[in-house]
Every structure is written in C-alpha cells, then in structure tokens.
Symmetry: C2
C-alpha cells in the first residue's frame, strides 16, 4: 500500500502549496487581493484545481486563520516563566496587541473577517476551537488572579469579555484606521502600540488589589 500512501502525501503537498500561495498573497497584498486565480497562477495550476482541495474560498481563509492562531500560541510561550498571574495577564495583553499590530492581516482573518466563521457554520462538525481555547485560557488566568487575591472576585465571563474587548477593540480600531487622530501628535503604528500598552497598564493598575491604594 505504498502507492496510496504516496498519493495521500502528494495531495497534502498540493494543499500546502495552495495555502502557502494564499498566505503569500494575503500577507503581501492583503485580504482583498487573495483571489482564486492569483493563487492558481502562483502554484501553476488552473483555478478550478483549487476547488479539488478546498470547498471554497472561505475554507482557505479558515485555514489561514488557524495558522494565525498557531503563531499567536507560539508567541505566548514567554508567559510560562511568569509566576505572578497579574503580570502574566499584562504580558498576555502585550503579546496580543503586539501580534495584532505586527501581523494585521492575520489578526484580520482571525478576529474581524466573517469568512472563517461562515466556513465553520457551513461545515457541520467544524468549530472555532482555537478561538475558544484562547478564551478559556484567559478565563482560567482570571480565575487564578481572583483566587489568589490579585483582583476582586467577579463573574469570570464578564471580566474576560471586558479585557478581551479592551485589547481587541484597540487593535481593531487601529487596524481599521480609526485611531489616526486619537491625539494631536502623529500617531505611528509604534506610537499607537505603546499607547495601548499604557492602556492595559492603566486597567490592570485600576483593578489590582494586591497593592495598597494611596
């Protein structure tokens, strides 16, 4: 059965070629410039071949978003060494913001575009597991913060929504050019990122119950 095995491998190879080509277009030219025909050109197949490996365009974007989640997970490796849960929460927020601001296309397809979610709702048995895992991660960290008395006890979903909302809100506003005049100075990407760090710092400072309030 070496043949059927090799065939399967070839199939996976072409699938990967398609995703790599999509990724290249996606990162270099942005979401809207990923077209089936351009992908086909890059891998030197006809456009219809793409449909032999992916149900539709949404599925390609779903797969790209999965790659994004992997990249993000990798970035979060630096959290494991931080013992203090509130500091870990801060660093998590910093990682999130940094990821979004330096990989806007990935961030887009992971958290803004409808395509991947449409794909999930179309395909039975498929779900947003990577996203949900990230949410559960945040919720657990918050629970740890509460249990250890770093922040006041409160319904964990409510706080998680607030904190995720905070970082996602700032990053997505920036990506969609809504923060360009938040202050008088020129707001470069780098400057905005630093301001966001200050914002999460302000929030965590406000809810921190482990330090004496003056």
């Amino acid at each position: 059965m070496g043949i059927v095995e090799r065939k399967e491998k070839q199939k996976q190879d072409i699938k990967k070629m398609i995703l790599d080509a999509s990724m290249k277009l996606f990162v270099e030219e942005g979401f809207d410039n990923v077209t089936i025909r351009k992908i086909a050109d890059l891998i030197e197949y006809s456009p219809t071949t793409v449909y032999l490996y992916f149900k539709d365009k949404d599925e390609i974007f779903f797969q790209l978003s999965q790659v994004g989640f992997e990249k993000m997970l990798e970035l979060n490796q630096n959290l494991t060494t931080i013992a203090n849960p509130l500091m870990r929460l801060y660093k998590m927020g910093e990682n999130y913001i940094h990821f979004g601001m330096t990989n806007p296309e990935f961030y887009d397809v992971m958290f803004i575009q409808l395509a991947p979610m449409d794909c999930i709702s179309k395909m039975e048995e498929l779900e947003w597991s990577a996203g949900n895992a990230a949410i559960e991660n945040l919720k657990e960290l918050l629970k740890e913060c509460m249990d250890k008395g770093f922040i006041q006890k409160a319904p964990v979903e409510i706080v998680a929504m607030a904190i995720w909302g905070l970082v996602h809100g700032m990053v997505s506003l920036a990506i969609r050019n809504r923060l360009d005049h938040i202050n008088k100075k020129v707001t470069s990407k780098e400057h905005l990122t630093k301001m966001m760090y200050q914002s999460i710092n302000w929030l965590l400072g406000s809810i921190d119950t482990s330090i004496k309030k003056k």
Copy 2:
C-alpha cells in the same frame, strides 16, 4: 435664478434617492449586497448614473456612515439629564453597545469597514470629523470625571482608548460572531448585550473612586 436653483434641488433629490436606495439594501441585505446595479435598479436609473452623483462606491459608504453618526448622536440625547459624570459615562457606554447591537450594519460601516476611511484618505479636504468629535466628547467626559474626583487622574487619551476599546471590542466581536461561545448557555443577541452592560459596569465599578472600597 429660479431655474438654476430648482436644478440644484433636483440634483440633491437624486443624490438622496441614491442614498435612500443604498440604505435600504444596506440595512435589509447587508454591506456586501449593496451593489451599484441594485441601487440603480431601485431608483430606476442606469448604473452609470450613480457615478454622476458619487465619485465611487466608497463615497456612498462614507455618506451612510455619516447617517449612522447622526443616529448615534440622537440616541445620546438622553445623556444631557444625567448630572453625575460617571453615571453619564456608564449610560454613554450602554448607548454605544445598544446602538451597535441593534444597528449592526451601521456600526459596521462606521467603525469596522475600511471603505469610508479609504474615501476620506482619497478625497483631499475630507476628514473623519464625526468620529473625531465623538472621541473628543469621550475625552472631555473623562476629564470631568477626573476633575471631580470620580476616577483617578490619568492621561486622558490612554483612558479614552481603553474605554472606547472596551465597548468597541465587545460589540465588534459580537457582530463578527466571535462571542458565540463565550459561555455554555446559548448566547442570544439580547443576552450578549446584557453581559456587555455588566462588563462596563464591572469596569466603572473598578475605577470608581467616589465610593468607599470595602
């Protein structure tokens, strides 16, 4: 000069017809289903006529976003009667969330879609005045809260970014179907909205310095 006047009025009438038709498609069928040809069908003109009144599709979306800002401003009339600035801030957040959750298409074009911002950056002399005015509004309210001792003094842009980020983040995640599994229960639009209210309540409770902390 009665004729040139009437001509000008007719021109404005057709412009309004185009916007009304766009709005109808936009609200009833969503952003992606607004096409020049469908607009033309509705107003019973040829597609090219639309281009005699608007530079391109982006300009139509820019105009629609402006209508959205007007609706939002109207909604915020209920703030004027609230004396306590922190309560005003809470109600402002509630208004914002309510607006976004009940007018997702408008919210989309105002704060998520790139089209209106692209229009602004293309047209010289055009700027995001409605959005910037809303930001200034928030900043002033925050300053009042700080001056009157309701919340700790902090750089107002940083806090504004955090709070706007918080509400925008939650609403845009909801609109883009990323909050569907934030908890085990079925998360209806109404339920999510209530949770968001609790989130802003949690935040404002955390930063409120006007009440004794236990």
